[in-house]
Each structure stands twice: as structure tokens, then as C-alpha cells.
């Protein structure tokens, strides 16, 4: 492949990805305990008439799909930014414990402060995500931090946070009953108010992530080279961490901790685009919702008439990918 043709291929690939996303979105609305024909999908979304099918679409499937779209894009962007920032191929909001930090904060909010609304506990989620994010970055920013050690540190932090969540749930049975469905990571409880409440945060985080693509490219060369190229390291890092906090905290507050989406998609994308963040980020933003919505649809199909929560499906799909990445020979390189 000559360098000249590559931008064309990449643009075409992005168009194809958007088309795939559109198909998945339609499937996400059509497939479920009640199958809805495609013309009805169109009708329900754009010409609401109050029939049973339209109610299912408007009140259940449409918000759910919209939330999956937003959360998927958020997790994909967050994972990509983290992999670039820590220069670590195993970075993922789930693996490094950021989602667990947000969950622990939400559980605290629900159990100790009696916060029950999303707009209330989303701030706790941001705080939790920010704390773990800084901790992971401090660990990962050290010279000589290997992927193994960063992943271990993140997993160990996750273990602490999960232990804390279990302890809180143990003391507060009412909270356990509510939280055990939330901590799985599910889109099932999505409503339009949830979507509109969370969308602004994710949008700001997403824009931030896309804006720092260029300096992240420079950081990929190492700190000294990046500085020589004129990248402002501190500003980029602060912005990147802000973006990750907004994206992960918002996504986790809306539908619980979901692992591996931010890990799988950037790796798959990198195989097509090469290492340029300016392409990886938009690709991830488009393809991550494909994965998340696909997992959601899969969860609805395999366990019909019930459903598997999307967090379980992504974990089961992502585990093998993680293990594959680990078994590759050049695991240490990004």
C-alpha cells in the first residue's frame, strides 16, 4: 500500500464503519423480546402514533440504543486516550480500575448519602473516576512502568474497590438489591431523561479527546521527543485525564462499569489505520458503539426471552482478546 492511497482507504473505512453503526442501531431497536419489523422501526422513531409498538420503541428501545451509542463511543475514546497517554497497550478504563472507582463512588453516594438520581450521583462518579485516574497515571507515568505492572496495579486497585462495594452492600441490604443490577453494567434501565442528563458530559469529554489527538501522537514518541516537537506535555496530560474522567465517570454513572470495550476497539482499529491518533480516535468513536450495541443485541438474543446484561457480554468477549494480546510476542509495544 502506497502512502498516498492510505488516506483514501482510511476515509472509505470510516464511511463503511458509520454504515455498520447505522445497521447496528436499527438492529438494536428492532431485536428483542418483541421483534419489530423494520418499517415499524422507522414509523416508531419518526411518526410516533401511540401504538403498542411505538411505545416499545419510544420508551424502551430508542433510549436504550441512544445510550448504548453514547456510552460505547465514550468508552472507546477513553480507552484510546488512555492507551496513548500511558503508552500502554493494556490500558482500558475497566482494566485500570477507573470504572470501578466510579462505581465505588456511586455505591457510596447511594448507600451513605441517600442519593438516588442520576444527576446526583454522576458527580460522585466523576470524583471516583478522577481519583483512580490520577492514581493510575501517577503509577503509569513513571519511567520504566511496564504494561504488566500497570495492569497489575489497576487490577489490584479494582480488587480493593470491589471489596469495598461488597462490604457496603453487605451492610445495606436495600442498597444491595438496587446495586447488584447496576454494578453489572446494563443498558436495560435507560430512559430518555438519563440520556439527556448524561449526554452533555460525554459530549464535552468526547470533543476534548478528539482535540488532543495531535499532541497524543507526539507523546507516543516519548516525552523528550514530544517536547522537542512543541507539544505541551502538562496541558495535554491534564486535558487527557479530564476527558477520560468525564467519559468514564459519565458512562459508568449511566449504566454501570463496563470492561474491555475501550481495550478491544482501539487495537482492532489500529490494525487498519496505523498509529495515527487523528484516525484512531474517530474510528474508535464509531466502532465502539458497534461493539457495545452488538453485545447488547447479542445479550438479548442468546438469553431470550430474558437477557444478558451488556457488561457480562463485553467481559466474556473481551477476556479472550485481552489474553490474545498478552500472548502476542511483542506485547510490550503499542
Amino acid at each position: 500500500m502506497t502512502p498516498r492511497r492510505r488516506p483514501l482507504l482510511r476515509s472509505a473505512g470510516l464511511v463503511v464503519s458509520v454504515a455498520v453503526l447505522a445497521v447496528i442501531v436499527v438492529l438494536g431497536i428492532a431485536v428483542g423480546a418483541k421483534q419489530i419489523p423494520l418499517d415499524q422501526v422507522w414509523h416508531g422513531v419518526f411518526h410516533y402514533s401511540g401504538s403498542d409498538t411505538d411505545v416499545v420503541i419510544r420508551d424502551v428501545r430508542f433510549p436504550r440504543t441512544l445510550l448504548g451509542l453514547l456510552v460505547g463511543a465514550a468508552l472507546g475514546l477513553a480507552g484510546t486516550v488512555m492507551q496513548g497517554l500511558t503508552r500502554n497497550p493494556l490500558a482500558d478504563p475497566g482494566v485500570l480500575g477507573i470504572n470501578a472507582g466510579a462505581s465505588a463512588a456511586v455505591v457510596t453516594a447511594v448507600s451513605f448519602f441517600g442519593v438516588t438520581s442520576l444527576t446526583g450521583y454522576v458527580w460522585f462518579a466523576f470524583a471516583g473516576a478522577a481519583v483512580v485516574n490520577v492514581a493510575v497515571y501517577v503509577l503509569g507515568g513513571t519511567r520504566g512502568a511496564t504494561p504488566v505492572r500497570l495492569a497489575l496495579a489497576g487490577t489490584a486497585l479494582t480488587a480493593v474497590l470491589i471489596g469495598y462495594i461488597n462490604a457496603v452492600n453487605l451492610m445495606d441490604t436495600a442498597a444491595l438489591d438496587k446495586m447488584r443490577f447496576w454494578t453489572v453494567g446494563s443498558l436495560a434501565s435507560a430512559t430518555l431523561p438519563t440520556v439527556t442528563a448524561i449526554a452533555p458530559f460525554l459530549a464535552v469529554g468526547g470533543v476534548l479527546a478528539l482535540l488532543i489527538a495531535r499532541p497524543l501522537n507526539a507523546i507516543a514518541l516519548g516525552d523528550d521527543q514530544a517536547r522537542a516537537l512543541g507539544a505541551r506535555l502538562t496541558r495535554t496530560r491534564v486535558l487527557a485525564m479530564l476527558a477520560v474522567t468525564l467519559l468514564c465517570g459519565g458512562a459508568t454513572a449511566a449504566c454501570g462499569p463496563i470492561v474491555y470495550v475501550g481495550l478491544m476497539v482501539p487495537h482492532a482499529v489500529r490494525a487498519v489505520t496505523g498509529p495515527d491518533m487523528r484516525w484512531i480516535l474517530p474510528y474508535s468513536a464509531v466502532l465502539s458503539p458497534v461493539l457495545l450495541l452488538g453485545a447488547d443485541v447479542l445479550g438479548r438474543v442468546v438469553a431470550r426471552p430474558g437477557e444478558l446484561q451488556v457488561g457480562i457480554v463485553t467481559a466474556v468477549l473481551g477476556g479472550p482478546v485481552f489474553i490474545y494480546l498478552v500472548r502476542r510476542r511483542r506485547m510490550a509495544q503499542l
Partner: protein, 379 residues
């Protein structure tokens, strides 16, 4: 045993360093029959101290509860004295609980030391890799799908833990087993298994969910002789086996090349000790639940107690006197029994399972460890 000869300073890894600090005293004890044994004075003293603390904590734990007993009464009842009521309370109610605590502590401590040595990372302990989750999946499946009794839950936990261990083994196998790959595959498996735990939690009704959460936190409440015997049998076989491999493990800490040059069959040692440690963890988890962070902290604390100040710190690059499995096991027993005693004192008898306390304390210790290891450039 006749003559005690002072043999100068330590021989083996780190010997030059210890001579420089002059803080380590190693004696060789020789018998007339030609047998000799190296005796690390400090390690022996620490070991005896830990044993004493563990036994003292055990006596205190037996004495605490709704019917408090003084240590003298406990000792009297243990040795056959005391009245019938005290005999019943000590022998039938509290002694098995304490024995389970001691054995689980030893098992977690020893296997944690093995895992950390093989992965050459202070964080590579079985509760960070997927074993706790694997056991939880087994136990929860037993609770949710079979409404199992305590024995069924224990069987599920053993099956889950050993199955997870084997799966991680096979997935990490690539022309031999490598410490880092084992750790990373474990991390990958742990997230998957945790998702399965959550799935089972959503399938459970609220009673089962509470029972499952209690089990996953790890508790010593209501343990009886049925839990003591199988665990004691497993420990009696596997702990000596692992102690036997203490020397090759110490060589392994210097890296694969150095170890094989010194005549250690690297892969074989790793496979045997990891399998033994996996089974040990599974048995301990089946008896008391995945009590978190004992396996992580016990070897670290034991190591810090035996090192001269200048050499403290884990990790791969520092000169280390190797894993001390005996001390790790004793430290694990001390930690677990003391934590159980403290949680009864702090929260009242059987209010909070011991796993909550070890989780909080271990979590704090972990954060401190991460901070110091980072400063030393080892994380």
C-alpha cells in the same frame, strides 16, 4: 546436635550486600553425624515471635464472644480442665473456628509467597489474579442453581478455583510457563470471571444474594470441625511440598537464566509450585471464602520483618533473601486470626465478616505499597 559453629556471614544471593550491612547473622548448626543446617538468627527469632503472636491471638479469639473467657480459662479448657459448659464452648464452638482461621492464614500466606515469587511482583498474589473470582463463580453457582448447603458451596469453590487455575495455566502456556504471562492471563480471566459472578448475583433472589455476598467477603463465622479436617489434610500435604521447593524458588527470584545455570529445572519447578499453590488457595477459599489481601500482604510483611532496613522493599531488582515460606505462612495466620479478633471486638460478635477488615486494611497497605514501589521505580 552438639557443636554450634559460627560460620561468619551469609552464603548465597545477596551475601556480599549483607556482609556490607553486617546486620544478618547466619549460623550453621552441625551434628556429629555430618548433618548441618544453616540457621538465620533473625529469621528464626521472627518466626518464633510470629508463632507466639499467632497462638496468643488464637487464645484471645477463643476467649472472645458472647460468653467471654479469660486466657487462663481458655488454656484450662483446652487442656481438659474447666467446667462442661466451657469445654463445650471451646471445643465444639470456638476451637474449630480458630483452627480454620490459622490454617487458612497459613495457606494464604504460603501460596501468596509462591505466587509473588514466581511472578516476581509483589502484586502478583492469587487474590489479584482470577482465583478468588474463580472460586466465587463455583460457590455462587452452587448457591444459586443448586441451593447447596455449606458442603456443596465448598465443593463448588474448590471446583471453581482449581478449574480457573488450570485454565489460566493452559492459556498462559507457550513453550513453558512464564511468570508475567501467567499474571496477565490471570488478570484477563479475573475480569471475565467477575462478570460471571455479577451475572449469578442478578440471577439470585435477595436471600441468596446476601448469602453469596457474605461468602464472597470471606468469613469465619460458624465454622465447625467439618471444615477443619479437609483443610488440615490439604495443608499437611501441600505446605511441606512447597517448603521443599523453597530453595529452587529462591533461585528463581534471580531470574530464569541464573536459576537454570545453578541447576534449577525452571519450568518444572514453576509448574509444580503453582499447581500446589492453586490447590492450597482453593482449599482455603472453600473453607472461609476469598478473604482478601492476606495472600498479598503476609509475604510482604514477613519479608520486611526479616530484612535489614537498607534492603527493605520487594520487587525484582533489589537484593533479596528469597521468599521465606515459613514466615509468610505464620504471618498469614497472625494476620487472619488477629483481624478476626479485632473485627469481633470492634463491631461485636459475628456482625461483620473478617474479610471486610482484611479488605480495608489490605487495601490501605496496597496503596502504600504502590506508592513506595513507584518511588523505587518497581511498579
Amino acid at each position: 546436635m552438639s557443636a554450634t559453629v559460627k560460620s561468619g556471614e551469609a552464603v548465597g544471593p545477596g551475601a556480599g550486600k549483607t556482609r556490607a550491612t553486617g546486620a544478618r547473622r547466619v549460623r550453621a548448626i552441625r551434628t556429629k553425624g555430618g548433618l548441618s543446617v544453616r540457621l538465620d538468627v533473625r529469621a528464626t527469632a521472627v518466626g518464633l515471635l510470629l508463632l507466639a503472636v499467632a497462638l496468643a491471638a488464637a487464645v484471645a479469639l477463643i476467649g472472645s464472644g458472647d460468653y467471654p473467657m479469660t486466657p487462663a480459662e481458655v488454656l484450662a479448657a483446652l487442656t481438659g480442665g474447666g467446667d462442661a459448659g466451657q469445654q463445650y464452648i471451646v471445643h465444639d464452638l470456638r476451637l474449630p473456628r480458630v483452627l480454620v482461621g490459622l490454617l487458612v492464614g497459613v495457606a494464604f500466606g504460603v501460596s501468596g509467597a509462591v505466587f509473588q515469587t514466581v511472578s516476581r511482583n509483589p502484586l502478583g498474589s492469587p487474590d489479584v489474579l482470577g482465583f478468588a473470582q474463580g472460586s466465587s463463580v463455583g460457590a455462587l453457582a452452587a448457591i444459586v442453581y443448586f441451593q447447596a448447603d455449606a458442603f456443596g458451596v465448598a465443593a463448588g469453590a474448590v471446583a471453581g478455583g482449581v478449574g480457573t487455575g488450570l485454565a489460566i495455566f493452559l492459556l498462559a502456556w507457550k513453550r513453558g510457563i512464564h511468570g508475567y504471562r501467567f499474571v496477565l492471563v490471570g488478570i484477563g480471566a479475573s475480569a471475565m470471571l467477575y462478570a460471571m459472578v455479577l451475572f449469578l448475583m442478578t440471577k439470585a433472589n435477595i436471600v441468596e444474594a446476601t448469602r453469596a455476598t457474605t461468602w464472597m467477603t470471606g468469613s469465619l463465622n460458624g465454622r465447625d470441625w467439618d471444615q477443619v479436617q479437609p483443610l488440615a489434610a490439604v495443608c499437611a500435604v501441600l505446605v511441606p511440598l512447597l517448603l521443599f521447593f523453597g530453595r529452587p524458588l529462591r533461585m528463581l527470584e534471580m531470574g530464569d537464566d541464573a536459576a537454570s545455570a545453578l541447576g534449577v529445572r525452571v519450568d518444572r519447578v514453576r509448574v509444580v509450585v503453582l499447581l500446589a499453590a492453586v490447590v492450597l488457595v482453593a482449599a482455603a477459599t472453600a473453607a472461609a471464602g476469598p478473604i482478601s489481601f492476606v495472600a498479598l500482604t503476609a509475604p510482604q510483611l514477613a519479608r520486611r520483618l526479616t530484612l535489614p532496613r537498607r534492603l527493605r522493599g520487594g520487587g525484582g531488582s533489589a537484593p533479596m533473601p528469597g521468599p521465606n515460606l515459613v514466615l509468610s505462612g505464620l504471618m498469614g495466620a497472625v494476620l487472619l486470626v488477629a483481624a478476626d479478633w479485632a473485627s469481633q471486638r470492634l463491631f461485636g460478635a459475628d456482625q461483620l465478616p473478617v474479610g471486610v477488615l482484611t479488605g480495608v486494611l489490605g487495601g490501605g497497605y496496597l496503596l502504600w505499597l504502590l506508592a513506595t514501589e513507584r518511588k523505587a521505580g518497581r511498579v
